[in-house]
Amino acid sequence: MSAEALAVTPARANRRARLILGIFLAALVSWLALDLSLSDALPRQGGGSVLSLFLEGALSPATSYEAAEVPAGTPPLLSKVLGAVWTTLLFAIAGMSLAVVLGLIFGFLGATSWWRDEGSDAPLGRGLLQRLMPVLYAVVRVWIALMRSVHELLWAILFLVAFGLNNFSAVIAIAIPYGGTLAKVFSEMLDECPRESARSLRAIGAGPVQVFLWGLLPRAFADMSAYAFYRFECAVRSSAVLGFFGYPTIGYYLKLSAENLHYREVWTYLYALIALVLIVELWSSKLRERIVIR
Protein backbone atom coordinates (compact mmCIF):
# COMPACT_ATOMS: atom_id res chain seq x y z
CA MET A 1 0.00 0.00 0.00
CA SER A 2 1.42 3.38 -0.92
CA ALA A 3 1.87 6.18 1.52
CA GLU A 4 -0.68 8.21 -0.42
CA ALA A 5 -3.43 5.73 0.36
CA LEU A 6 -2.67 5.97 4.04
CA ALA A 7 -2.49 9.75 4.21
CA VAL A 8 -5.58 11.63 5.33
CA THR A 9 -6.53 13.73 2.35
CA PRO A 10 -7.91 17.24 2.93
CA ALA A 11 -11.25 16.19 1.41
CA ARG A 12 -11.52 13.31 3.86
CA ALA A 13 -10.58 15.49 6.83
CA ASN A 14 -13.21 18.02 5.73
CA ARG A 15 -15.89 15.38 5.53
CA ARG A 16 -15.07 14.14 9.00
CA ALA A 17 -15.08 17.67 10.44
CA ARG A 18 -18.47 18.36 8.86
CA LEU A 19 -19.90 15.15 10.31
CA ILE A 20 -18.70 15.93 13.84
CA LEU A 21 -19.99 19.49 13.55
CA GLY A 22 -23.34 18.20 12.27
CA ILE A 23 -23.80 15.84 15.22
CA PHE A 24 -22.90 18.61 17.64
CA LEU A 25 -25.36 21.02 16.00
CA ALA A 26 -28.17 18.44 16.09
CA ALA A 27 -27.71 18.07 19.84
CA LEU A 28 -27.59 21.83 20.37
CA VAL A 29 -30.66 22.53 18.22
CA SER A 30 -32.73 19.90 20.03
CA TRP A 31 -31.92 21.39 23.43
CA LEU A 32 -32.66 24.93 22.29
CA ALA A 33 -35.85 23.96 20.46
CA LEU A 34 -37.20 22.14 23.51
CA ASP A 35 -36.20 25.04 25.74
CA LEU A 36 -34.45 22.63 28.07
CA SER A 37 -32.85 24.08 31.13
CA LEU A 38 -31.05 22.17 33.81
CA SER A 39 -32.98 24.02 36.50
CA ASP A 40 -36.07 22.02 35.46
CA ALA A 41 -34.33 18.97 36.80
CA LEU A 42 -34.74 20.37 40.30
CA PRO A 43 -38.04 19.71 42.10
CA ARG A 44 -40.56 22.52 42.01
CA GLN A 45 -42.29 24.02 44.95
CA GLY A 46 -43.97 21.18 46.84
CA GLY A 47 -42.39 18.76 44.46
CA GLY A 48 -39.54 18.30 46.87
CA SER A 49 -41.78 16.80 49.50
CA VAL A 50 -43.41 14.46 46.97
CA LEU A 51 -39.97 13.39 45.84
CA SER A 52 -38.79 12.72 49.35
CA LEU A 53 -42.03 10.82 50.07
CA PHE A 54 -41.42 8.76 46.95
CA LEU A 55 -37.81 8.06 47.88
CA GLU A 56 -38.80 7.18 51.43
CA GLY A 57 -41.03 4.53 49.92
CA ALA A 58 -37.95 2.94 48.40
CA LEU A 59 -36.62 2.23 51.87
CA SER A 60 -39.89 0.92 53.24
CA PRO A 61 -41.94 -0.75 50.50
CA ALA A 62 -45.46 -1.66 51.53
CA THR A 63 -46.25 -5.15 52.75
CA SER A 64 -49.94 -4.34 53.20
CA TYR A 65 -52.35 -1.83 51.64
CA GLU A 66 -51.71 1.82 52.39
CA ALA A 67 -55.37 2.74 52.01
CA ALA A 68 -57.16 3.27 55.30
CA GLU A 69 -59.94 0.88 54.44
CA VAL A 70 -59.96 -1.94 51.97
CA PRO A 71 -63.18 -3.52 50.66
CA ALA A 72 -63.96 -6.80 52.33
CA GLY A 73 -62.67 -9.87 50.52
CA THR A 74 -59.70 -8.10 48.95
CA PRO A 75 -56.72 -10.43 48.84
CA PRO A 76 -53.64 -9.33 50.81
CA LEU A 77 -51.26 -7.00 48.96
CA LEU A 78 -48.46 -9.51 48.62
CA SER A 79 -50.63 -12.14 46.98
CA LYS A 80 -51.85 -9.42 44.62
CA VAL A 81 -48.21 -8.58 43.80
CA LEU A 82 -47.45 -12.22 43.15
CA GLY A 83 -50.49 -12.46 40.92
CA ALA A 84 -49.33 -9.42 38.97
CA VAL A 85 -45.87 -10.91 38.58
CA TRP A 86 -47.42 -14.13 37.35
CA THR A 87 -49.64 -12.46 34.71
CA THR A 88 -46.71 -10.28 33.62
CA LEU A 89 -44.72 -13.44 33.03
CA LEU A 90 -47.63 -15.14 31.26
CA PHE A 91 -48.10 -12.25 28.82
CA ALA A 92 -44.37 -12.20 28.12
CA ILE A 93 -44.25 -15.95 27.48
CA ALA A 94 -47.35 -15.92 25.29
CA GLY A 95 -46.10 -12.93 23.31
CA MET A 96 -42.63 -14.39 22.87
CA SER A 97 -43.90 -17.81 21.82
CA LEU A 98 -45.76 -16.21 18.94
CA ALA A 99 -42.86 -13.82 18.25
CA VAL A 100 -40.38 -16.70 17.93
CA VAL A 101 -42.60 -18.42 15.38
CA LEU A 102 -42.95 -15.17 13.40
CA GLY A 103 -39.23 -14.48 13.81
CA LEU A 104 -38.27 -17.90 12.48
CA ILE A 105 -40.62 -17.74 9.50
CA PHE A 106 -39.71 -14.24 8.44
CA GLY A 107 -36.09 -14.61 9.56
CA PHE A 108 -35.72 -17.55 7.19
CA LEU A 109 -37.49 -15.77 4.36
CA GLY A 110 -35.57 -12.56 5.04
CA ALA A 111 -32.17 -14.23 4.81
CA THR A 112 -30.48 -14.03 1.43
CA SER A 113 -29.15 -17.52 2.10
CA TRP A 114 -32.72 -18.86 1.99
CA TRP A 115 -33.10 -17.68 -1.59
CA ARG A 116 -29.59 -18.36 -2.77
CA ASP A 117 -28.35 -21.50 -4.46
CA GLU A 118 -25.02 -22.30 -2.84
CA GLY A 119 -23.93 -23.99 -6.04
CA SER A 120 -24.35 -20.98 -8.29
CA ASP A 121 -22.80 -17.56 -8.55
CA ALA A 122 -26.09 -15.69 -8.78
CA PRO A 123 -26.67 -13.67 -5.59
CA LEU A 124 -30.36 -14.59 -5.39
CA GLY A 125 -32.68 -17.05 -6.93
CA ARG A 126 -32.57 -20.50 -8.38
CA GLY A 127 -34.42 -22.45 -11.02
CA LEU A 128 -37.67 -21.17 -12.45
CA LEU A 129 -38.25 -18.54 -9.79
CA GLN A 130 -34.99 -16.76 -10.49
CA ARG A 131 -36.72 -13.62 -11.72
CA LEU A 132 -39.32 -13.53 -8.99
CA MET A 133 -37.08 -14.16 -6.00
CA PRO A 134 -35.43 -10.76 -5.63
CA VAL A 135 -38.96 -9.28 -5.55
CA LEU A 136 -40.20 -11.76 -2.92
CA TYR A 137 -37.09 -11.11 -0.87
CA ALA A 138 -37.64 -7.34 -1.01
CA VAL A 139 -41.29 -7.75 0.02
CA VAL A 140 -40.26 -9.84 3.04
CA ARG A 141 -37.64 -7.27 4.08
CA VAL A 142 -40.16 -4.44 3.91
CA TRP A 143 -42.68 -6.53 5.85
CA ILE A 144 -40.11 -7.17 8.59
CA ALA A 145 -39.32 -3.46 8.75
CA LEU A 146 -43.02 -2.64 9.11
CA MET A 147 -43.47 -5.13 11.92
CA ARG A 148 -40.71 -3.68 14.04
CA SER A 149 -40.97 0.00 13.11
CA VAL A 150 -44.05 0.37 15.29
CA HIS A 151 -43.47 0.12 19.03
CA GLU A 152 -45.39 -2.49 21.03
CA LEU A 153 -47.25 0.23 22.94
CA LEU A 154 -48.56 1.68 19.68
CA TRP A 155 -49.56 -1.78 18.47
CA ALA A 156 -51.33 -2.18 21.83
CA ILE A 157 -53.35 0.99 21.24
CA LEU A 158 -54.27 -0.20 17.76
CA PHE A 159 -55.40 -3.63 18.96
CA LEU A 160 -57.19 -2.15 21.96
CA VAL A 161 -59.29 -0.15 19.55
CA ALA A 162 -59.78 -3.05 17.19
CA PHE A 163 -60.37 -5.95 19.59
CA GLY A 164 -61.02 -4.29 22.93
CA LEU A 165 -59.27 -5.00 26.18
CA ASN A 166 -58.76 -8.73 25.77
CA ASN A 167 -55.64 -10.72 26.47
CA PHE A 168 -55.09 -11.60 22.85
CA SER A 169 -54.62 -7.99 21.81
CA ALA A 170 -51.82 -7.60 24.36
CA VAL A 171 -50.16 -10.80 23.24
CA ILE A 172 -50.07 -9.84 19.57
CA ALA A 173 -49.04 -6.30 20.48
CA ILE A 174 -45.88 -7.87 21.90
CA ALA A 175 -45.58 -10.59 19.28
CA ILE A 176 -45.57 -8.37 16.19
CA PRO A 177 -42.70 -5.95 16.93
CA TYR A 178 -40.74 -8.67 18.73
CA GLY A 179 -41.30 -11.04 15.83
CA GLY A 180 -40.05 -8.34 13.47
CA THR A 181 -36.92 -7.69 15.52
CA LEU A 182 -36.21 -11.40 15.88
CA ALA A 183 -36.73 -11.86 12.12
CA LYS A 184 -34.29 -9.07 11.31
CA VAL A 185 -31.60 -10.34 13.66
CA PHE A 186 -32.16 -14.02 12.81
CA SER A 187 -31.84 -13.31 9.10
CA GLU A 188 -28.60 -11.41 9.66
CA MET A 189 -27.18 -14.19 11.82
CA LEU A 190 -28.08 -16.75 9.17
CA ASP A 191 -26.47 -14.66 6.46
CA GLU A 192 -23.32 -14.02 8.46
CA CYS A 193 -22.58 -17.58 9.51
CA PRO A 194 -19.84 -19.44 7.61
CA ARG A 195 -21.06 -21.07 4.43
CA GLU A 196 -18.61 -23.92 3.92
CA SER A 197 -20.89 -26.56 5.44
CA ALA A 198 -23.78 -25.34 3.29
CA ARG A 199 -21.64 -25.53 0.17
CA SER A 200 -20.39 -28.99 0.98
CA LEU A 201 -23.95 -30.28 1.43
CA ARG A 202 -25.05 -28.65 -1.80
CA ALA A 203 -22.12 -30.37 -3.50
CA ILE A 204 -23.42 -33.80 -2.52
CA GLY A 205 -26.90 -33.14 -3.83
CA ALA A 206 -28.80 -31.76 -0.83
CA GLY A 207 -31.76 -29.61 -1.83
CA PRO A 208 -31.90 -25.88 -1.01
CA VAL A 209 -34.11 -26.32 2.03
CA GLN A 210 -31.97 -29.18 3.32
CA VAL A 211 -28.85 -27.08 2.85
CA PHE A 212 -30.48 -24.33 4.85
CA LEU A 213 -31.68 -26.61 7.66
CA TRP A 214 -28.55 -28.76 7.98
CA GLY A 215 -25.78 -26.47 6.79
CA LEU A 216 -26.74 -22.98 7.96
CA LEU A 217 -29.30 -23.17 10.75
CA PRO A 218 -27.15 -25.29 13.11
CA ARG A 219 -24.28 -22.84 12.76
CA ALA A 220 -26.45 -19.83 13.60
CA PHE A 221 -28.57 -21.61 16.19
CA ALA A 222 -26.49 -20.77 19.28
CA ASP A 223 -26.48 -17.06 18.49
CA MET A 224 -30.15 -17.11 17.56
CA SER A 225 -31.24 -18.73 20.80
CA ALA A 226 -29.04 -16.44 22.90
CA TYR A 227 -30.66 -13.45 21.22
CA ALA A 228 -34.16 -14.89 21.70
CA PHE A 229 -33.47 -15.24 25.44
CA TYR A 230 -32.34 -11.64 25.60
CA ARG A 231 -35.52 -10.56 23.84
CA PHE A 232 -37.54 -12.54 26.36
CA GLU A 233 -36.10 -10.37 29.12
CA CYS A 234 -37.21 -7.32 27.15
CA ALA A 235 -40.65 -8.89 26.68
CA VAL A 236 -41.05 -9.16 30.46
CA ARG A 237 -40.51 -5.41 30.77
CA SER A 238 -42.85 -4.67 27.84
CA SER A 239 -45.50 -6.89 29.38
CA ALA A 240 -45.21 -4.98 32.66
CA VAL A 241 -45.57 -1.63 30.89
CA LEU A 242 -48.60 -2.82 28.90
CA GLY A 243 -50.39 -2.79 32.26
CA PHE A 244 -50.65 0.99 31.92
CA PHE A 245 -53.31 0.31 29.28
CA GLY A 246 -55.34 -1.79 31.68
CA TYR A 247 -53.98 -5.30 31.21
CA PRO A 248 -53.60 -6.99 34.62
CA THR A 249 -49.80 -6.94 34.63
CA ILE A 250 -47.51 -5.15 37.11
CA GLY A 251 -47.87 -1.86 35.26
CA TYR A 252 -51.61 -1.73 35.93
CA TYR A 253 -51.27 -2.00 39.72
CA LEU A 254 -48.26 0.25 39.72
CA LYS A 255 -50.24 2.95 37.97
CA LEU A 256 -53.21 2.59 40.35
CA SER A 257 -50.97 2.89 43.41
CA ALA A 258 -49.14 5.88 41.95
CA GLU A 259 -52.42 7.65 41.17
CA ASN A 260 -53.50 7.11 44.76
CA LEU A 261 -50.13 8.47 45.90
CA HIS A 262 -49.39 5.16 47.61
CA TYR A 263 -45.69 5.37 46.90
CA ARG A 264 -44.72 2.54 49.23
CA GLU A 265 -46.99 0.23 47.21
CA VAL A 266 -45.42 1.57 44.01
CA TRP A 267 -42.06 0.46 45.32
CA THR A 268 -43.36 -2.96 46.21
CA TYR A 269 -44.40 -3.43 42.57
CA LEU A 270 -41.15 -1.95 41.30
CA TYR A 271 -39.11 -4.30 43.46
CA ALA A 272 -41.23 -7.21 42.29
CA LEU A 273 -40.60 -6.24 38.67
CA ILE A 274 -36.87 -5.86 39.27
CA ALA A 275 -36.76 -9.25 40.98
CA LEU A 276 -38.67 -10.83 38.11
CA VAL A 277 -36.35 -9.34 35.49
CA LEU A 278 -33.27 -10.42 37.46
CA ILE A 279 -34.54 -13.96 37.86
CA VAL A 280 -35.36 -14.22 34.16
CA GLU A 281 -31.93 -12.82 33.33
CA LEU A 282 -30.14 -15.29 35.59
CA TRP A 283 -32.09 -18.18 34.17
CA SER A 284 -31.53 -17.16 30.56
CA SER A 285 -27.81 -16.57 31.05
CA LYS A 286 -27.50 -20.06 32.54
CA LEU A 287 -29.32 -21.47 29.51
CA ARG A 288 -27.22 -19.42 27.12
CA GLU A 289 -24.05 -20.76 28.68
CA ARG A 290 -25.23 -24.30 28.17
CA ILE A 291 -26.23 -23.78 24.56
CA VAL A 292 -23.33 -21.63 23.41
CA ILE A 293 -20.37 -23.18 25.19
CA ARG A 294 -21.20 -26.75 26.19
Partner: protein
Protein backbone atom coordinates in the same frame (compact mmCIF):
# COMPACT_ATOMS: atom_id res chain seq x y z
CA UNK B 1 -22.54 -50.78 -5.37
CA UNK B 2 -21.50 -48.93 -8.50
CA UNK B 3 -23.38 -49.80 -11.67
CA UNK B 4 -21.39 -50.09 -14.88
CA UNK B 5 -20.49 -46.52 -15.79
CA UNK B 6 -18.43 -44.82 -18.37
CA UNK B 7 -16.85 -42.43 -15.96
CA UNK B 8 -16.00 -38.78 -15.98
CA UNK B 9 -14.93 -36.70 -18.92
CA UNK B 10 -13.70 -33.12 -19.34
CA UNK B 11 -14.01 -31.88 -22.91
CA UNK B 12 -11.78 -28.90 -23.51
CA UNK B 13 -13.02 -27.17 -20.35
CA UNK B 14 -12.09 -23.58 -19.58
CA UNK B 15 -13.17 -21.58 -16.55
CA UNK B 16 -12.81 -17.83 -16.23
CA UNK B 17 -13.32 -15.90 -13.03
CA UNK B 18 -13.80 -12.22 -13.80
CA UNK B 19 -11.83 -12.60 -17.01
CA UNK B 20 -8.97 -14.49 -15.33
CA UNK B 21 -8.51 -18.06 -16.53
CA UNK B 22 -8.50 -20.61 -13.71
CA UNK B 23 -8.52 -23.63 -15.99
CA UNK B 24 -7.76 -23.63 -19.72
CA UNK B 25 -8.81 -26.25 -22.27
CA UNK B 26 -8.69 -29.11 -19.85
CA UNK B 27 -9.17 -32.57 -21.38
CA UNK B 28 -9.46 -35.46 -19.01
CA UNK B 29 -10.99 -38.92 -18.91
CA UNK B 30 -11.36 -40.85 -15.71
CA UNK B 31 -12.55 -44.43 -15.85
CA UNK B 32 -14.74 -45.87 -13.09
CA UNK B 33 -12.69 -47.21 -10.20
CA UNK B 34 -9.61 -45.27 -11.22
CA UNK B 35 -7.56 -43.29 -8.70
CA UNK B 36 -6.09 -40.01 -9.80
CA UNK B 37 -4.37 -37.05 -8.15
CA UNK B 38 -4.13 -33.55 -9.51
CA UNK B 39 -0.76 -32.11 -8.55
CA UNK B 40 0.83 -28.75 -8.97
CA UNK B 41 1.58 -25.51 -7.18
CA UNK B 42 -1.20 -23.60 -5.43
CA UNK B 43 -3.33 -21.53 -7.73
CA UNK B 44 -2.79 -23.94 -10.64
CA UNK B 45 -6.49 -24.78 -10.93
CA UNK B 46 -6.76 -28.01 -8.91
CA UNK B 47 -9.69 -26.89 -6.78
CA UNK B 48 -11.51 -25.48 -9.80
CA UNK B 49 -10.99 -28.73 -11.70
CA UNK B 50 -12.41 -30.78 -8.82
CA UNK B 51 -15.36 -28.43 -8.37
CA UNK B 52 -16.23 -28.88 -12.04
CA UNK B 53 -16.91 -32.58 -11.38
CA UNK B 54 -20.03 -31.88 -9.34
CA UNK B 55 -20.97 -28.65 -11.12
CA UNK B 56 -20.22 -26.47 -8.11
CA UNK B 57 -18.23 -24.54 -10.70
CA UNK B 58 -19.59 -24.31 -14.23
CA UNK B 59 -17.37 -24.32 -17.30
CA UNK B 60 -17.11 -21.05 -19.22
CA UNK B 61 -16.33 -23.17 -22.29
CA UNK B 62 -16.36 -26.87 -22.98
CA UNK B 63 -18.30 -29.53 -21.14
CA UNK B 64 -18.08 -31.86 -18.17
CA UNK B 65 -19.76 -35.23 -18.64
CA UNK B 66 -20.59 -38.03 -16.26
CA UNK B 67 -21.52 -41.26 -18.03
CA UNK B 68 -22.02 -39.23 -21.19
CA UNK B 69 -24.41 -36.83 -19.50
CA UNK B 70 -23.45 -33.20 -19.88
CA UNK B 71 -23.71 -31.58 -16.44
CA UNK B 72 -24.81 -28.27 -17.94
CA UNK B 73 -27.69 -29.93 -19.80
CA UNK B 74 -29.35 -31.81 -16.94
CA UNK B 75 -32.34 -30.62 -14.91
CA UNK B 76 -32.05 -29.50 -11.30
CA UNK B 77 -33.29 -32.80 -9.94
CA UNK B 78 -31.02 -34.80 -12.25
CA UNK B 79 -28.10 -32.67 -11.11
CA UNK B 80 -29.01 -33.42 -7.50
CA UNK B 81 -28.97 -37.14 -8.09
CA UNK B 82 -25.69 -36.89 -10.00
CA UNK B 83 -24.20 -34.91 -7.11
CA UNK B 84 -25.46 -37.53 -4.68
CA UNK B 85 -23.22 -39.98 -6.50
CA UNK B 86 -20.16 -37.79 -5.91
CA UNK B 87 -18.72 -37.89 -2.43
CA UNK B 88 -16.98 -34.57 -1.86
CA UNK B 89 -14.55 -33.54 0.84
CA UNK B 90 -13.66 -29.87 0.45
CA UNK B 91 -10.39 -28.53 1.78
CA UNK B 92 -12.16 -27.00 4.79
CA UNK B 93 -14.05 -30.31 5.21
CA UNK B 94 -17.43 -28.57 5.26
CA UNK B 95 -18.52 -30.15 8.54
CA UNK B 96 -20.90 -28.42 10.93
CA UNK B 97 -18.63 -27.91 13.97
CA UNK B 98 -21.35 -27.50 16.58
CA UNK B 99 -23.20 -30.67 15.65
CA UNK B 100 -22.32 -34.17 16.74
CA UNK B 101 -20.25 -36.52 14.63
CA UNK B 102 -23.33 -38.71 14.12
CA UNK B 103 -25.38 -35.83 12.72
CA UNK B 104 -22.56 -34.83 10.39
CA UNK B 105 -22.14 -38.36 9.10
CA UNK B 106 -25.89 -38.84 8.62
CA UNK B 107 -26.06 -35.64 6.57
CA UNK B 108 -24.10 -37.47 3.88
CA UNK B 109 -27.37 -38.98 2.71
CA UNK B 110 -29.23 -35.70 2.24
CA UNK B 111 -28.76 -35.81 -1.50
CA UNK B 112 -30.52 -39.15 -1.67
CA UNK B 113 -33.46 -38.22 0.54
CA UNK B 114 -36.43 -36.01 -0.05
CA UNK B 115 -36.93 -33.10 2.35
CA UNK B 116 -39.66 -34.81 4.36
CA UNK B 117 -37.75 -38.04 4.69
CA UNK B 118 -34.60 -36.27 5.79
CA UNK B 119 -36.50 -34.26 8.40
CA UNK B 120 -38.21 -37.39 9.68
CA UNK B 121 -34.90 -39.26 9.76
CA UNK B 122 -33.24 -36.54 11.81
CA UNK B 123 -36.11 -36.35 14.31
CA UNK B 124 -36.18 -40.04 15.12
CA UNK B 125 -33.08 -41.76 16.35
CA UNK B 126 -33.20 -44.51 13.78
CA UNK B 127 -30.95 -47.21 15.15
CA UNK B 128 -30.23 -48.81 11.80
CA UNK B 129 -28.81 -45.56 10.43
CA UNK B 130 -26.78 -44.83 13.54
CA UNK B 131 -25.41 -48.34 13.46
CA UNK B 132 -24.29 -47.92 9.88
CA UNK B 133 -22.64 -44.61 10.71
CA UNK B 134 -20.99 -46.23 13.71
CA UNK B 135 -19.74 -49.13 11.59
CA UNK B 136 -18.09 -46.69 9.18
CA UNK B 137 -16.56 -44.66 12.00
CA UNK B 138 -15.28 -47.87 13.57
CA UNK B 139 -13.70 -48.80 10.28
CA UNK B 140 -11.92 -45.43 10.33
CA UNK B 141 -10.88 -45.92 13.96
CA UNK B 142 -13.01 -43.20 15.56
CA UNK B 143 -16.14 -45.12 16.50
CA UNK B 144 -16.00 -43.87 20.08
CA UNK B 145 -16.49 -40.29 18.84
CA UNK B 146 -19.98 -40.94 17.44
CA UNK B 147 -21.73 -38.60 19.86
CA UNK B 148 -18.95 -36.05 20.30
CA UNK B 149 -19.29 -32.59 18.87
CA UNK B 150 -17.09 -32.04 15.83
CA UNK B 151 -15.51 -28.92 17.33
CA UNK B 152 -14.14 -31.04 20.17
CA UNK B 153 -12.14 -33.24 17.77
CA UNK B 154 -8.57 -32.95 16.52
CA UNK B 155 -7.76 -32.09 12.91
CA UNK B 156 -7.03 -35.71 12.03
CA UNK B 157 -10.27 -36.87 13.61
CA UNK B 158 -12.27 -34.26 11.73
CA UNK B 159 -10.68 -35.41 8.51
CA UNK B 160 -11.96 -38.92 9.30
CA UNK B 161 -15.45 -37.64 10.05
CA UNK B 162 -15.49 -36.00 6.63
CA UNK B 163 -14.37 -39.26 5.05
CA UNK B 164 -17.02 -41.12 7.03
CA UNK B 165 -19.68 -38.73 5.75
CA UNK B 166 -18.58 -39.37 2.19
CA UNK B 167 -18.62 -43.15 2.73
CA UNK B 168 -22.04 -43.05 4.39
CA UNK B 169 -23.24 -41.30 1.25
CA UNK B 170 -22.55 -44.51 -0.72
CA UNK B 171 -21.32 -42.54 -3.68
CA UNK B 172 -19.55 -43.84 -6.77
CA UNK B 173 -16.91 -41.14 -6.63
CA UNK B 174 -14.79 -39.82 -3.82
CA UNK B 175 -13.44 -36.35 -4.47
CA UNK B 176 -11.12 -34.75 -1.92
CA UNK B 177 -9.59 -31.30 -2.28
CA UNK B 178 -6.17 -31.11 -0.61
CA UNK B 179 -7.09 -33.74 2.00
CA UNK B 180 -3.58 -33.69 3.50
CA UNK B 181 -2.92 -29.97 3.64
CA UNK B 182 -3.87 -29.46 7.30
CA UNK B 183 -2.14 -32.58 8.61
CA UNK B 184 1.33 -33.28 9.98
CA UNK B 185 3.49 -35.69 7.92
CA UNK B 186 2.58 -38.79 9.92
CA UNK B 187 -1.15 -38.04 9.77
CA UNK B 188 -0.89 -37.17 6.08
CA UNK B 189 0.62 -40.56 5.30
CA UNK B 190 -2.05 -42.26 7.37
CA UNK B 191 -4.85 -40.37 5.65
CA UNK B 192 -3.68 -40.95 2.09
CA UNK B 193 -3.31 -44.64 2.90
CA UNK B 194 -6.83 -44.66 4.27
CA UNK B 195 -8.30 -42.81 1.28
CA UNK B 196 -6.68 -45.00 -1.34
CA UNK B 197 -7.44 -48.22 0.52
CA UNK B 198 -11.05 -47.33 1.17
CA UNK B 199 -11.54 -46.30 -2.46
CA UNK B 200 -10.01 -49.54 -3.69
CA UNK B 201 -12.02 -51.68 -1.27
CA UNK B 202 -15.33 -50.06 -2.20
CA UNK B 203 -14.57 -49.67 -5.89
CA UNK B 204 -14.84 -45.87 -5.75
CA UNK B 205 -13.40 -43.57 -8.35
CA UNK B 206 -10.91 -41.45 -6.41
CA UNK B 207 -10.08 -37.89 -7.40
CA UNK B 208 -7.65 -35.98 -5.23
CA UNK B 209 -5.74 -32.77 -5.37
CA UNK B 210 -2.40 -32.74 -3.62
CA UNK B 211 0.54 -30.53 -2.82
CA UNK B 212 2.87 -33.29 -1.79
CA UNK B 213 4.26 -34.82 -4.98
CA UNK B 214 6.19 -37.53 -3.13
CA UNK B 215 3.13 -38.87 -1.35
CA UNK B 216 1.10 -38.63 -4.56
CA UNK B 217 3.78 -40.61 -6.43
CA UNK B 218 3.85 -43.24 -3.74
CA UNK B 219 0.13 -43.78 -3.26
CA UNK B 220 -1.80 -42.66 -6.33
CA UNK B 221 -1.41 -44.62 -9.56
CA UNK B 222 -2.20 -41.76 -11.95
CA UNK B 223 -1.02 -38.17 -11.70
CA UNK B 224 -2.18 -35.12 -13.62
CA UNK B 225 0.17 -32.17 -13.34
CA UNK B 226 -1.47 -28.77 -13.66
CA UNK B 227 0.30 -25.51 -14.21
CA UNK B 228 -1.53 -22.22 -14.61
CA UNK B 229 -4.72 -24.09 -15.45
CA UNK B 230 -3.23 -26.32 -18.16
CA UNK B 231 -2.32 -29.99 -18.12
CA UNK B 232 1.44 -30.35 -18.10
CA UNK B 233 1.55 -34.11 -17.85
CA UNK B 234 -0.93 -36.93 -17.38
CA UNK B 235 0.14 -40.50 -16.81
CA UNK B 236 1.06 -43.29 -14.44
CA UNK B 237 2.94 -41.98 -11.45
CA UNK B 238 5.79 -44.42 -12.19
CA UNK B 239 6.42 -42.61 -15.48
CA UNK B 240 6.57 -39.16 -13.98
CA UNK B 241 10.13 -38.02 -14.68
CA UNK B 242 12.13 -35.65 -12.55
CA UNK B 243 12.35 -33.36 -15.60
CA UNK B 244 8.60 -33.10 -15.84
CA UNK B 245 8.48 -32.41 -12.15
CA UNK B 246 11.06 -29.66 -12.23
CA UNK B 247 9.33 -28.18 -15.26
CA UNK B 248 6.16 -27.94 -13.21
CA UNK B 249 7.86 -25.89 -10.53
CA UNK B 250 10.46 -24.06 -12.63
CA UNK B 251 7.75 -22.69 -14.84
CA UNK B 252 5.88 -21.62 -11.80
CA UNK B 253 8.92 -19.66 -10.63
CA UNK B 254 9.02 -17.94 -14.01
CA UNK B 255 5.33 -17.14 -13.65
CA UNK B 256 5.95 -15.54 -10.33
CA UNK B 257 8.70 -13.36 -11.72
CA UNK B 258 6.62 -12.48 -14.75
Amino acid sequence: MSAPTRGLEFRSVSVHYDGRAAVTELDLRVAPGEALALVGPSGCGKTTALSLCNAMVRPSQGAVLIDDEDLSQVSDSQLRSLRARMGFIPQDLGLVPNLRVSQNVLSGRLGKQGLLRSVAASLSVRNAEHERALAILDELGIGEKLFHRVDSLSGGERQRVAIARALYQEADYLIADEPLSALDPARARETITLLTEVARAKGLTLLLSMHDIELAREFVPRLVGLRAGRVLFDGPSGELTDEALSELYDLEEEDRVG
